[in-house]
Assembly symmetry: C2
Homo-oligomer: 437 residues x 2
């Protein structure tokens, strides 16, 4: 049967309607890929059994080996995934009393808080969650709902067998750990027995257009690297180009040759080959050096500091920042020169440098980064159109780097890309780039 194929079915009216964005589909896509399963599609349906059933039948008729569902395992009337899957697989569900007891042990302490819900209603919900289709493997609850692995059924010669169905809860915090358990189960391994686990690497490049990597792939082919043995996906995320490569163990040498080739061609822009993102790299460089950082932000309005403090433990190296949205704050708090502001404007190299210098002095950090620019949609001019941005980095030991960048996109994109550009400038200076002043 070759590489097993899978579809992910996400249930939930709130996801279908766009009120909540789905995080399970993309996460499961990565997991399936890593297991060597071909992920063909992700289908989102509302909380209606008929629509879920249609999606299940479509996957069966396409001959897929695996279906993963997320959501619809809760206690309320809407939550019908387990019953729908049991019916689809032709496997009648029966009460698992031991499981009912284990769920009750979780629910009982919680139920005391739910004053408005009757004990009877809770008991009935509990019972529903403990109904197990014949032959299914139970995955113990992470929250209150158990998951299921329902094996294939081949009882009707007029149609393909039903695929193995892995039934998962909707909350990502429950789904992720339960998936890791599911992966280990014999019923799951049986469904993907033909899969060859792929190896994967993620490289990140900054400042390289997506079209350039297409050229690099062409050149690699021309010099005789059989890159068609690799599965290469590229995408631009927050102004960075991410290249994900997957390959079977037999193509190890091809993957190494391609990695070396990309490294040679793009030494200037390749900044990560171990999966780390730029904020993590900057924090690591600061820690190695035992340095602290401060920010001075205008157009990014606090988002550079926000990104630097996203990760736990940032307080070791981030002292703080100043958001100088108004010129008054630029002068008063950061000490930007009034004449320079008047002569060069707030969006200028000299003001960016003085902002970074101000943050360095006022906040007592070893390195500081500043941003000033026109995020739009208003405020642009012929000389300084929307997207004009200056980023400066200054250090206590006198390194200085300032850059003008013209950012494409709307207000949110200009702000977001400026944050990324600022972190990359910090990295460059931490690696020794910049002028001595």
């Amino acid at each position: 049967m070759g590489t097993p194929r899978a579809t992910v079915i996400v249930t939930g009216t709130e996801v279908l309607g766009g009120w909540v964005s789905d995080r399970n589909g993309p996460w499961l896509a990565r997991q399936l890929g890593a297991l060597g399963v071909e992920h063909v599609s992700t289908v989102t349906v509302g909380d209606r059994p008929a629509d879920l059933r249609a999606a299940l039948e479509h996957a069966r008729d396409q001959g897929y080996e695996l279906i993963v569902t997320s959501g619809g395992l809760g206690p309320t009337e809407d939550d019908l995934t387990a019953a729908t899957v049991a019916e689809f697989a032709g496997r009648p569900a029966a009460l698992d009393e031991a499981l009912e007891g284990r769920i009750w042990a979780i629910l009982e302490p919680l139920s005391k808080r739910w004053k408005q819900i009757s004990q009877e209603a809770i008991r009935s919900a509990n019972r529903k969650q403990a109904m197990v289709p014949a032959g299914a493997t139970v995955l113990e609850p992470v929250g209150t709902a158990p998951g299921l692995i329902v094996p294939p059924t081949d009882d009707d010669p007029s149609r393909p067998p039903t695929p193995t169905v892995v039934v998962m809860p909707g909350p990502p915090s429950e789904l992720k750990p339960m998936w890791k358990t599911a992966e280990q189960q014999p019923a799951f391994r049986a469904a993907i027995s033909e899969a060859v686990t792929l190896r994967e690497s993620t490289w990140r490049l900054f400042g390289l257009p997506e079209s350039e990597i297409a050229n690099t792939m062409k050149s690699a082919r021309e010099v005789g690297i059989p890159i068609d043995d690799l599965e290469i996906t590229t995408c631009v995320h927050r102004g960075e180009l991410e290249v994900v490569t997957r390959w079977t163990p037999e193509a190890d040498a091809v993957a190494s040759a391609f990695e070396e080739f990309v490294g040679d061609q793009h030494a200037e822009t390749l900044f990560s080959t171990d999966g780390r993102r730029i904020d993590e790299i900057v924090l690591d460089l600061l820690r190695e050096r035992e340095w602290t950082i401060a920010t001075a932000e205008s157009c990014t309005g606090g988002l550079v500091a926000g990104r630097l403090t996203d990760r736990a433990g940032a307080s070791d190296v981030v002292v703080g920042g100043i958001v100088s949205y108004s010129n008054a704050v630029k002068m008063r708090v950061l000490g930007v020169d009034a004449e320079d502001l008047r002569d060069h404007g707030a969006v200028s190299a000299i003001v960016a440098q003085q902002m970074a210098q101000g943050a360095l002095n006022r906040l007592g950090a070893k390195i500081a980064v500043s941003t000033t620019g026109i995020a739009g949609p208003g405020g642009g001019s012929d000389a300084k159109p929307v997207g004009t941005v200056y980023v400066a980095v200054e250090t206590v030991d006198g390194l200085s780097l300032v850059r003008h960048v013209q950012m494409p996109g709307d207000r949110a994109a200009v702000r977001d890309r400026t944050v990324t550009a600022a972190l990359h400038m910090v990295r460059r200076v931490l690696l020794g780039e910049g002028e001595r002043i």
Copy 2:
């Protein structure tokens, strides 16, 4: 045939694989809902014609009236949506020379930048994009790719007719305006002729658990409001509860009665009935009063200032902020008292108040908001577990409000909810709440 049903098919290996999150599916869901079309499912497939074809056929076999595709209209080899849809509908595509010329007029100036691509390759891509299935309506390019409305085909009595297919480009900035054009076309109107346009309202409540609104719906039913005539969706987004109600014109009175009922029951927590979000409401209140705002942030690390400056024109009212991640910055820049820091800790009501007062004084604003808390995962204690947050608001005319909140969730959730809580505190003070000091 009743309410027309639709499926959205999103194409793109990068979306399927989770490298890029899909913004078109949720947006189209809202548009279809507003047109009175029942949106049954959203299917994401990679850039493989066979998988797209299977999704198209499934929608046909389910008897849907409308399919909307997004993506796969670009110039490269991967971009095969238009050809696949033409084949599916049994409508051979022919070159539209006038359209080819119009696309060339867009491409020619751009092509001069693409030095590495041959003119011939560009011409061939151009030709591909100008192939129009027989009988289809062309939607003029917003970027470089035209869209299509392909009418139903009913040429095979053994299966249902093919639905109307609206073929849209992938980039949201192209899709959104093109959709608005598509909605007006006779071929589109014909597909949804049975739809009854729904009315819609969005209310937002802060500080109300989702289960409470379920109780309110139950109570409304008990007092005789026939709320089953309304379609009500609730979801929690960034710590706020969003209630979207849709109804047919005949249910106008029911919608008004329900709105009044919710307003009575939840006057304390209902803060928006006109679709505005909290950041917009705060900026509007500041503008009305001609006041300026400043921030002093610890655990949110700049994200409150970031949210306040998300919208264009924020510079009218936002002067700036101070990210005081370290205690040194809290003391040195914001003037927080060293003894209070030592006696009460950085995460305390008194430090929050001094931080806000410091921002007010140092940055020269009329109102200031501060945040200090333990975002985790480390740093918690029995007395102050992870999620302990203090928010304070101070004004130049002596109003003061400080609150302790215990935030649930992980680091990102604690930070995000603290931002929301801070903006709500500002709104309350701008509406007169708080103590005179």
